[in-house]
Every structure is written in structure tokens, then in C-alpha cells.
């Protein structure tokens, strides 16, 4: 049994079986297996070795063609070792006699062999230990790779343990079976946290080295509220956490009762609470939590979920599916916002040195007009089926906005020529998520129908903090006075120009900021579905007068510490159980 403390980023408690992802450092903890699983493990080993041989043969042949027989011959030794019957025999014996997984057996036998090499007096031979490590890794990758595929076809509920979840990995998860996340790195606004909250499952991040301490098959408790992960819990802890889980479910149920009630303050001001989604399927859950529409549809997941770029029809089908589920409620589709993530960087021919300041989001779209047009065409075709709005991300200059609108106009003309129906007066909005857009909000407001403040990026660009870098993530603070005055300025610019302003960052769903945002005059909050009830509870428990008072006080502070302290005190008065 082992208790690990991390950062709880999505509440709830779950006890389930662990699946470990992306063990890049390939630390394989020992895990015993039942005797009847030996043949299956031996078969997995055989398959992994055979696949390794195929890969290595191809590598050797390619290298031989490119660099000649001398260099290619280096891999002959690798191949020889991989095919070595004695070596395979040793690994199989390890599985059989010590009842361990194939991974652990490979690791043990290869390390034993490596030690023999290191002990050799001959320097040249001792150097060959690198070959041993190479082979160990290639077989282990194959073994772990087999498990990766299994994630798509889960037969039981699991919790996913990973170094850091990649968008491409979460996009490929079997969402009905995954009941929790625990990761080595990350913070409150990491991708893992966002996905977990959207799915309404517990998650703990920033655990340090959880991937090396949990092995696939271990029983794990993830307590997202307390930020604790317990590996192989004892009976007492199981009971205690099952009770906590039941309590959490009860609290959820209490909040669910709010779903059908209006988001209205005690003195009669009505607000609109909407949801952020990644997939059309998220909509049912969001509506269940009481969301009145979709304030942010993150369409990049269409790109991440499959290995080819989505066609116009793929886009269209997704949007139609979403609108069918929404039944006439509004939906803001944000155009592709990819670029600075690991996924695109890993695929890029020349990874950028500074991707967050690089070719991302709207810039990327304006560099690839045909791709951009495919998405815009699909949105416009779908626009006749319901209340669709279009939103451009990462707008920094007026020229960018005008260019994007010009591309959209081209699309409208094309559709008109083709006789395809569309909604001509579709509302066009932009994300306000870089300081330049905030400073020029008054000018921008004259050229769009709505603003949506994207606090995750706005905070990152204002405070110069990479929220995924655990060494500086602590500096990422929505309560920073500079961030707050930016938010206030955008809301004011919207009001002055009579356009609506929403806020769709993580901040919108954090009950800590609800009173403040309300007091600053925000009327549309877009958040992860499961956050809606708690935010609504705060709205229904206060008055606009009080919220304005809170906002005035907060705006008079000059440090985020004062801000956070004050907001915590004020919010605790309304929902003591949350803090």
C-alpha cells in the first residue's frame, strides 16, 4: 500500500484497476501473475519478440542501403540477440518460475545480462551493454504497445495512469470505461484536468512518479477532491473511500437538483450558464448538468481523434450530431485551435522553438486556407439547422480578424454559387485571449458580434507562464490583478459597443471566481458541464448588489494573495463544503 499526494484537479473518488500509459523511461515494477496466466504472458513475449525482429530487420536493411554493410552489420548483433533461443528461454523461465509479467521478466533477465557485460574486464565488450539496453527497450516497447491498443477495447472499468495525457491519447480513450486519471505532471489547467472535468471523473495530477509506482492491474484509489492516490489500498482504506465516494455522489445529486432551476440571482438578474465541449457526445451530460447551450465547441478534437485530417463531411456530421443533441439551444463553434500542443509539434517536420508564440491556431488556419475553408464550409452548411455561431481563436491584430472574415466571405460566395443554403447573418465572434486583443477590445468590438474571453491563454500570455511547466505552474493565477483588470476591460468594451461577452476559460467553472465575475458584469459563463451546478448554486445564493461589492473590493487589491484570500472567504460563506 502506498499513499501519494498530488494536485486534485477534478473531484470525486474512484476505486478501480490501473492501466499505465506511456512509461517512456520504461521502469517496470514487479508484478506477480496467477499461474494460469503464464501461457498468455509467454505468448505476449513471443509476439513482442517477433515484432521486434521484423522492425529490426527492416531497420538493418534500410541502414545497409543508406550507409553500407559495415554500419548495417551493427544491427546483426541486435538481431542475433533478439532471436537467441537461450535468451528467450531465460525470459520464459523467469515468467514461469517467478510468476511475473512478460515486461518484468524481460527487464530482469536483460538487466542481469547487462550486469555481466559491465563486469567484463575488456572495455570493448563492456561497451556492448548499450546494445543490451537497446534490445530491452525495443521488446518492452512492443509489450507496452500491445497494451496501448487494448485501451480502445476495454472490457472492464479502469483508471488511467500516465506521465502526462496527450490530447491524442484522451481522444482515443474508451470513455465509458475510464473512471479516473492520475498523472506524474500537470496542473489545474492541464489537458488531463480539462478532460477529466469534462468527463466528470476524478483526476489527480502532479504526482511526481506515479507511473513507476503503479503497474497495470494494481488496484488504485483516486480521490480527486483531496488530491490523493492510494496504490493497492488495504481494507480499511477501501471502506473509507467507498464511503467518501458515496458522499460525493450524494453531493452531486443535491447539485443535480439545481439543473432545472434558472441561473438567477436573488435580486432577479438572469445569467446564462453554458458548457465547453470536445465531442458532440459531451452535450448530453452538459445538458444534464443544466447547461443552456454550448459556449465553446473545441473542434480540434476532430483532428486529434483520427489519424487523418477531417473532411468537410466529417466536420459537417459532427456539427449536425451536436445540433441534434442540443435541440435548438445555441452553440459556439470555435475554429481549429491547434499548433502549440505536443501532438502537432511531434508531427511537425520542423518543431518550433517557441510553439506558444508560433504558428498556432488562427495563424495556422490562415496559412492553410483549403483546410480552413473545409471547416468553415461545414459550419455554414450546418448553420441552417439551428443556432450556430462561429468564433475565431487567438486573434492578435485587426488584420487577422479581417483576413479570417474574408475567407469566410469567400466560403459564403462559393456556397451561394453552388446553391447551398446557409445562414447569412451567422454571428461571428472572436476569442479574447492575448493582451493585444484586450488592449484593442474597443476596436475589435466594432467588427465582431461577440467576445469570448479565453482565460487559460490570456493568463499564460499576460503573466508569461507556461501552465504545463510544473516548475512555474504555481505562478499561473487567474486572480492576478493584471488578469482581472484585463477581464474587466473586455467586459466594459463589450458593454460599451453592445456586444455580448462570455468567458470560457477554466475560471468560468471555478466557483471561487463566480461572485467576482458576476460583479464585473459578466453575463455568459461557459464551463465544463459538471461545474455548472456549483456555479449556479452561488449565483442563486447571492444578489447582484453583493457581487458588485465583492468585485469592487477585489479590484482594489494589488496582489493575487489578497484576491484569493478574500474570494475564498466570500465563497466559503455560500458553499462551505467546497473549501
Amino acid at each position: 500500500m502506498e499513499i501519494k499526494k498530488g494536485i486534485g484537479v477534478s473531484p470525486g473518488v474512484v476505486i478501480s484497476t490501473a492501466v499505465v500509459l506511456d512509461a517512456e523511461d520504461l521502469v517496470i515494477p514487479r508484478r506477480r501473475i496467477e499461474a494460469d496466466l503464464v501461457p498468455a504472458e509467454v505468448e505476449r513475449l513471443g509476439k513482442a519478440v517477433a515484432e521486434g525482429v521484423v522492425d529490426l530487420t527492416k531497420l538493418r536493411d534500410d541502414v545497409t542501403v543508406q550507409h553500407g554493410k559495415e554500419i548495417g552489420g551493427i544491427f546483426d548483433f541486435h538481431l542475433g540477440l533478439l532471436r537467441d533461443r537461450k535468451l528467450q528461454g531465460d525470459i520464459v523461465n523467469e515468467i514461469k518460475t517467478n510468476l511475473t509479467t512478460a515486461e518484468y521478466a524481460v527487464s530482469t533477465v536483460m538487466r542481469h545480462l547487462a550486469n555481466k557485460f559491465l563486469a567484463m574486464p575488456d572495455r570493448y565488450l563492456a561497451e556492448r551493454v548499450k546494445d543490451i539496453h537497446d534490445i530491452e527497450k525495443s521488446v518492452l516497447r512492443k509489450l507496452i504497445g500491445q497494451k496501448h491498443e487494448d485501451l480502445l477495447h476495454l472490457t472492464q472499468d479502469v483508471v488511467v495512469i500516465a506521465h502526462d495525457l496527450l490530447p491524442s491519447q484522451t481522444a482515443a480513450l474508451d470513455r465509458t470505461r475510464v473512471k479516473g486519471f492520475a498523472t506524474d505532471v500537470g496542473g489545474r489547467t492541464s489537458h488531463t484536468a480539462i478532460v477529466a472535468r469534462a468527463m466528470g471523473i476524478p483526476a489527480v495530477v502532479g504526482l511526481g512518479n506515479i507511473t513507476s509506482e503503479v503497474s497495470g492491474g494494481d488496484t488504485v484509489i483516486i480521490d480527486g477532491g483531496r488530491g490523493v492516490v492510494i496504490v493497492n489500498p488495504d481494507e480499511e482504506q477501501r471502506v473509507e473511500h467507498l464511503e467518501a465516494e458515496r458522499k460525493h455522489v450524494r453531493m452531486e445529486k443535491d447539485l443535480e437538483a439545481l439543473a432545472t432551476l434558472a441561473a438567477q440571482t436573488k435580486d432577479g438578474f438572469s445569467l446564462s450558464l453554458q458548457a465547453n465541449i470536445e465531442f458532440p457526445e459531451d452535450i448530453d451530460d452538459a445538458l444534464g448538468h443544466g447547461a443552456e447551450g454550448i459556449g465553446l465547441y473545441r473542434t480540434e478534437f476532430l483532428y486529434l481523434a483520427s489519424d487523418h485530417e477531417p473532411s468537410e463531411q466529417d466536420h459537417y456530421d459532427a456539427y449536425v450530431d451536436a445540433m441534434r443533441r442540443l435541440g435548438g439551444r445555441p452553440m459556439v463553434i470555435r475554429t481549429l485551435d491547434l499548433g502549440a500542443d505536443k501532438y502537432t509539434q511531434a508531427k511537425a517536420a520542423n518543431p518550433e522553438r517557441n510553439p506558444f508564440l508560433g504558428d498556432r491556431s488562427i495563424r495556422m488556419c490562415l496559412h492553410d486556407i483549403p483546410m480552413f475553408k473545409r471547416q468553415l464550409r461545414a459550419i455554414m452548411r450546418a448553420s441552417v439547422l439551428g443556432d450556430v455561431r462561429i468564433m475565431f481563436p487567438m486573434i492578435c491584430t485587426l488584420m487577422e480578424l479581417r483576413q479570417a472574415k474574408m475567407v469566410l466571405n469567400d466560403v459564403l460566395e462559393e456556397l451561394e454559387d453552388e446553391g447551398v443554403p446557409f445562414r447569412r447573418d451567422i454571428p461571428i465572434g472572436m476569442m479574447v485571449e492575448v493582451p493585444s486583443a484586450v488592449v484593442m477590445a474597443n476596436q475589435f468590438a466594432k467588427e465582431v458580434n461577440f467576445f469570448s474571453i479565453g482565460t487559460n491563454d490570456l493568463i499564460q500570455y499576460t503573466l508569461a507562464v507556461d501552465r504545463t511547466n510544473e516548475r512555474v505552474a504555481g505562478l499561473f493565477c487567474p486572480g492576478h490583478p493584471a488578469v482581472l483588470s484585463f477581464i474587466r476591460d473586455v467586459i466594459r468594451a463589450g458593454a460599451r459597443n453592445s456586444i455580448s461577452v462570455s468567458l470560457c476559460g477554466e475560471m468560468a467553472g471555478d466557483p471561487l471566481y463566480t461572485l467576482l465575475l458576476l460583479g464585473l458584469g459578466l453575463t455568459i459563463f461557459s464551463m465544463n458541464g459538471p461545474d455548472v451546478p456549483e456555479v449556479k448554486k452561488i449565483i442563486r445564493s447571492t444578489t447582484m448588489e453583493h457581487a458588485r461589492h465583492v468585485a469592487r473590493r477585489v479590484m482594489s487589491f494589488d496582489s493575487e494573495r489578497q484576491v484569493m484570500h478574500f474570494l475564498r472567504e466570500e465563497t466559503r460563506k455560500i458553499i462551505p463544503e467546497a473549501f
Binding site: 551493427i74 540477440l81 545480462l113 557485460f117 575488456d122 570493448y124 546494445d131
Partner: protein
């Protein structure tokens, strides 16, 4: 079953390193006979001549005396061919 054996001394400079070990194992595997390589000296040990892992662990450096043993129908031919590899220094020197 016929058996055969021959004593040789490792004479190439780098000893029985990766490439010669692979070469030896590849040749040994062409024969039906079981092949064992015995290393004498201070730390005697045996290696399966068809396993590159065991051959490399012998750590047979230049000057190491080895005995090649074969056991099977083509034992004599196996031993002769394998000994020849050592005599030609695995084609490594002029």
C-alpha cells in the same frame, strides 16, 4: 553419436566481440550438432555455440584458449569449420 573437439586460441585483437560472435553463431547454427565452447583459464565456463548471448558472455579476449566441442552427426565438420573462423581471425586482419 560422434563427438569432436578442437583447442584454439583467440588470435584477433579485439577478441570475440559482437561481430565475430555473431559470425560464429551463424555458422554454428548451420550444423545439426550441438556446439559448446569451453573457456579454460582462471574462470572456466561453457557457452552454447548457437547462442550469441552466451558466446559474448565468454568475454574471450585475444589470447584466450578455447575448446570447441560438437556433438552430433556432423560434429567433425562443425568443429573444423568453426575452428577455421578463429584461424582466419574472422577476416578482421590483413
Amino acid at each position: 553419436m560422434p563427438t569432436a573437439s578442437r583447442d584454439i586460441v583467440v588470435s584477433n585483437k579485439l577478441g570475440l566481440h559482437a561481430r565475430p560472435a555473431m559470425q560464429f553463431v551463424d555458422v554454428a547454427n548451420q550444423f545439426d550438432s550441438a556446439v559448446t565452447v569451453h573457456k579454460g583459464g582462471e574462470e572456466p565456463c561453457d557457452a552454447d555455440g548457437k547462442s550469441v548471448m552466451q558466446m559474448i558472455i565468454l568475454a574471450a579476449t585475444e589470447g584466450t584458449p578455447l575448446r570447441i566441442e560438437a556433438d552430433g552427426a556432423d560434429a567433425q565438420k562443425a568443429v573444423d569449420t568453426l575452428a577455421q573462423l578463429f584461424e582466419s581471425k574472422f577476416g578482421e586482419e590483413e
